[in-house]
């Protein structure tokens, strides 16, 4: 088995996921009339939503801080950097022949997903704080913050559902985030460049002809 995510990364991921779950569900109760009506207790849901929101960035920030965060920081760097292969990955039509694209530890979809969540969390936190403590802001800015918080929430619901869908479709990849390891076969076929890096195997680079 090949190690993929270390303990710090996995704890950070699942703590963040749990907070996301709490925020999405309490958010739905606060936002959607039928749920608000069903559950009531607005003050309680509001408190839980606000505290979960404030805690949201902490797992990843704490995970990335200090000596224990080396791999998380390194993976964040990988997610940031895009190569020609990432552009190829988006253009390719045939998923059955992943070898055409020399994918590293993360494919372009995962990179986009992670970057989206990083940005969305900051935007939600900023607008959320404006809604919770609106006093310094004009009515127009409050309306604007509500507008942004609402539409980003829709985007986040889509992204989370998509994220879970892809994880369920690829149990080995999911295992990388639960047990922390993946099979060599998966690594070699799905993440060839990363496989070479991890095993030192000098298998020939899977040259990517750009699919037309």
């Amino acid at each position: 088995m090949i190690p993929r995510f270390d303990r710090v990364e996995r704890v950070a991921h699942w703590t963040t996921a749990a907070l996301f779950g709490v925020l999405m569900l309490t958010g739905a109760v606060l936002y959607a009339g039928p749920f608000s009506a069903m559950f009531g207790r607005r003050e309680l849901f509001r408190q839980v939503h606000v505290y979960a929101g404030i805690l949201l960035p902490l797992p990843v920030l704490l995970g990335a801080a200090g000596r224990w965060g080396a791999q998380l920081r390194s993976d964040a760097g990988r997610i940031n950097r895009w190569t020609r292969d990432d552009a190829r990955w988006f253009r390719r039509r045939n998923r059955a022949r992943p070898g055409r694209v020399d994918v590293g530890k993360f494919n372009a979809g995962q990179k986009l997903n992670a970057s989206f969540f990083a940005g969305a969390v900051v935007v939600m936190l900023a607008t959320g704080l404006m809604l919770r403590w609106p006093n310094p802001f004009s009515n127009d800015l409050r309306t604007g913050a509500t507008f942004v918080h609402d539409w980003f929430a829709f985007g986040i619901w889509m992204a989370v559902l998509g994220h879970i869908y892809f994880a369920i479709r690829d149990p080995v990849a999911l295992g990388g985030m639960t047990r922390g390891t993946v099979t060599p076969y998966w690594a070699r076929t799905e993440r060839p460049a990363w496989y070479r890096e991890m095993t030192g195997e000098q298998s020939e680079r899977l040259e990517g002809r750009t699919p037309r």
Partner: protein, 232 residues
């Protein structure tokens, strides 16, 4: 490291979109409600009601959605009055109606443009009970069992303060505070108590539910909760 920092660009791009949305959001919202709102109103599935366009958010602080039918509904007026009242829904309907069309502004930011209300003036209800000398304020209670609100007598006598029973030409639903609620046009939404049960005339203002939790008692739109610009 090789490669282009696309991840950072996506991240910063989202922050840019977010910031632009905060600044321009109220204009975009207004545009959406004018251009898209009419189509959503025709959607029969009700799914579009989930989109943040032209919609009220239903705030309830109690454990469940209160319900009271027209026949069992009573509005109690008590305290410093000559004659305590118990009005039925029919009694209220029989009084001179007043219509108002105003924006509904929540203190947290959402706004519904040009909402049509109908009801009777709170001032008329007070006159019917006869307010005694020495009375200074009103305390409202909701039949949700939790929510309370307040107004000074002077505020309550304004022409744009209604005991409302219709919203957009329809009888108030449970979610919107029916069968009878308050609508205080010049103030933030939290002042317009839903599921109105009781009006007590008092000699001093008693802060309401959200006011005990930090909101201003005098909740003029645009001139309270730390704002001093003019109402929209």
């Amino acid at each position: 490291m090789d490669g282009t920092p696309v991840g950072r660009r996506v991240f910063l791009g989202l922050l840019g979109v977010g910031a632009a949305g905060i600044v321009l959001g109220s204009n975009v919202q207004r545009w959406l409600e004018r251009e898209v709102g009419p189509y959503l109103a025709k959607d029969g599935t009700g799914l579009s009601g989930l989109l943040p366009i032209g919609r009220f958010r239903i705030y309830s602080v109690a454990g469940s959605m209160p319900h009271r039918g027209h026949d069992e509904y009573r509005l109690h007026v008590s305290g410093l009055v000559d004659q305590p009242l118990t009005l039925t829904y029919r009694d209220i309907r029989a009084m001179t109606p007043t219509g108002l069309t105003r924006d509904f502004q929540c203190v947290t930011g959402w706004r519904v443009f040009a909402v049509k209300w109908k009801g009777v003036r709170l001032a008329d209800v007070l006159d019917r009970a006869g307010v005694q000398a020495g009375a200074k304020a009103l305390r409202f209670k909701s039949f949700d069992g939790t929510y309370t609100e307040s107004l000074t007598l002077k505020q309550a006598r304004r022409q744009d303060v209604l005991v409302a029973y219709e919203l957009e030409g329809e009888e108030l639903s449970d979610a919107h505070g029916g069968p009878v609620r308050l609508y205080i046009a010049p103030m933030y939404g939290y002042k317009s108590i839903k599921w109105l049960d009781r009006i007590e005339v008092t000699d001093a203002v008693v802060p309401g539910y959200w006011e005990e939790r930090g909101y201003d008692v005098d909740a003029w739109v645009g001139r309270s909760n730390n704002r001093d610009d003019n109402a929209p």
